[in-house]
């Protein structure tokens, strides 16, 4: 089953040049070389909660990600990373099945992600809402809905809906619209701990 590993951190400001060099010359290539995970994007959180730097990697299976994170090579990379960043955390995510995964070599555009917990009693209503209303409406706003994920390992909220836009104007127009407000209010009747983030490329992996 296709899986995604998300790593979050804040870069120490006075080490940012060392971080850039380490991240580009060691962290990304050495993870990619394992063949277990492909780093597809790195993002700056333009709006939402920190940590402020997000790295996204995809893999053919949860097992491959687990093999990677248990390896001595990854431990060594992470140890080096910890000299350059703070507030490190990870999430291992698997598809919910609502959106077929579409693996990419390298990410592009901008992301708008919504995260929440589904109220247990509303699960079937939520599933119908996502398929019949949420995904089609987000498409009408110009968002390409590229992922529906649950957190297999990591902190809650445990569901992430991931949309991509070619430009920030598309996201801005959506956020200003009354239709988006109504759609979100309907989603909120079935979920808790709702939040969302706008991600822009950090410039390291994807431009």
């Amino acid at each position: 089953m296709f899986a995604k590993l998300i790593q979050y951190w804040n870069v120490f400001y006075d080490r940012r040049q060392d971080f850039d060099a380490f991240f580009m010359k060691e962290f990304v290539p050495r993870i990619d070389e394992t063949g277990l995970l492909k780093i597809t994007g790195s993002w700056h959180v333009a709006s939402g909660e920190s940590p402020n730097f997000i790295v996204e990697g995809t893999s053919a299976s949860l097992e491959e990600v687990e093999t990677l994170v248990m390896s001595a090579d990854f431990s060594q990379l992470r140890h080096s990373l910890f000299h350059l960043v703070s507030d490190y955390s990870t999430k291992l995510m698997a598809p919910t099945g609502n959106v077929p995964p579409r693996p990419v070599e390298v990410e592009h555009g901008f992301k708008f992600t919504q995260h929440f917990n589904v109220n247990a009693a509303d699960y079937y209503a939520y599933t119908a809402f996502v398929r019949n209303e949420h995904l089609p409406k987000m498409g009408q706003f110009g968002m390409d809905m590229v992922g529906g994920w649950y957190v297999a390992v990591g902190g809650t909220p445990y569901v992430v809906a991931e949309g991509r836009a070619d430009d920030l104007t598309t996201i801005g127009e959506m956020l200003e619209s009354q239709e988006f407000q109504m759609l979100t209010l309907k989603l909120l009747s079935m979920v808790s701990n709702y939040g969302c983030k706008i991600l822009v490329p950090s410039g390291h992996v994807n431009q």
């Binding site: 909660e49 104007t169 801005g172 209010l185 079935m190 983030k197």
Partner: protein, 204 residues
């Protein structure tokens, strides 16, 4: 001194219309009629963490807010409000003095930063806010309308408020290298950093 009273909440499932009617016809006019507080904004969080709805009110003093909180009328109104909302919490925000508080006229959108200051970097933070943070945000087209601390209420304790005529303009600023660099620098001086884009609900 202008102080703000901020109310955060989520509307209960199935109560959206009821809430809008109650807020528009009863809650907002009754609060304004007390003369102690003026409700100036009703927002939804378009980007950032919940709760999803925010009421923003201003008063001339913390004392006026305290008087309001003790009014029977306010207790009754809030009792009714609690039939329609959940995750309710409040904050009283007082100005830090770093920015003159402004109340924008007409339809506007907000972009707020919230964080705690690392007190071992406090002097550096003050210089940074005056010399870099506020000028850069304004240069990017967002008017800084307030810098406040949570006098009462949950953290994060510092809030910097910006206003703009469109979300598109806010996002243009957020997509710039200048903004990314500014936030990287800021993160060296603060913790628990986050931001919110607020869009008017149309109730006020």
């Amino acid at each position: 001194m202008t102080v703000k009273f901020i109310q955060f909440f989520d509307i209960l499932p199935g109560q959206t219309e009821e809430f809008r009617n109650f807020a528009h016809k009863n809650y907002i006019p009754a609060i304004n009629d007390t003369g102690l507080l003026r409700m100036i904004g009703s927002w939804y969080v378009a980007a950032g963490e919940g709760p999803y709805c925010i009421f923003e009110s201003v008063s001339d003093s913390v004392n006026n807010i305290n008087k309001l909180l003790q009014l029977d009328e306010f207790s009754k109104l809030n009792h009714l409000l609690h039939f329609l909302v959940t995750n309710y919490k409040t904050k009283i925000l007082a100005p830090t003095g770093l920015v003159d508080t402004k109340i924008p006229e007409g339809r506007n959108f907000r972009f707020n930063h919230h964080y705690n200051i690392r007190y071992d970097r406090y002097e550096e933070y003050l210089r940074f806010v005056k010399e870099e943070h506020i000028p850069t945000i304004e240069k990017l087209g967002i008017t800084v309308i307030g810098a406040s601390y949570a006098a009462i209420g949950p953290g994060p304790h510092m809030v910097t408020e910006g206003a703009c005529s469109s979300v598109k303009q806010i996002l243009e600023a957020l997509g710039s290298e200048e903004y990314k660099s500014l936030i990287s620098r800021m993160l060296a001086m603060v913790s628990d950093f986050g931001s919110k884009i607020l869009v008017p609900t149309g109730l006020i």
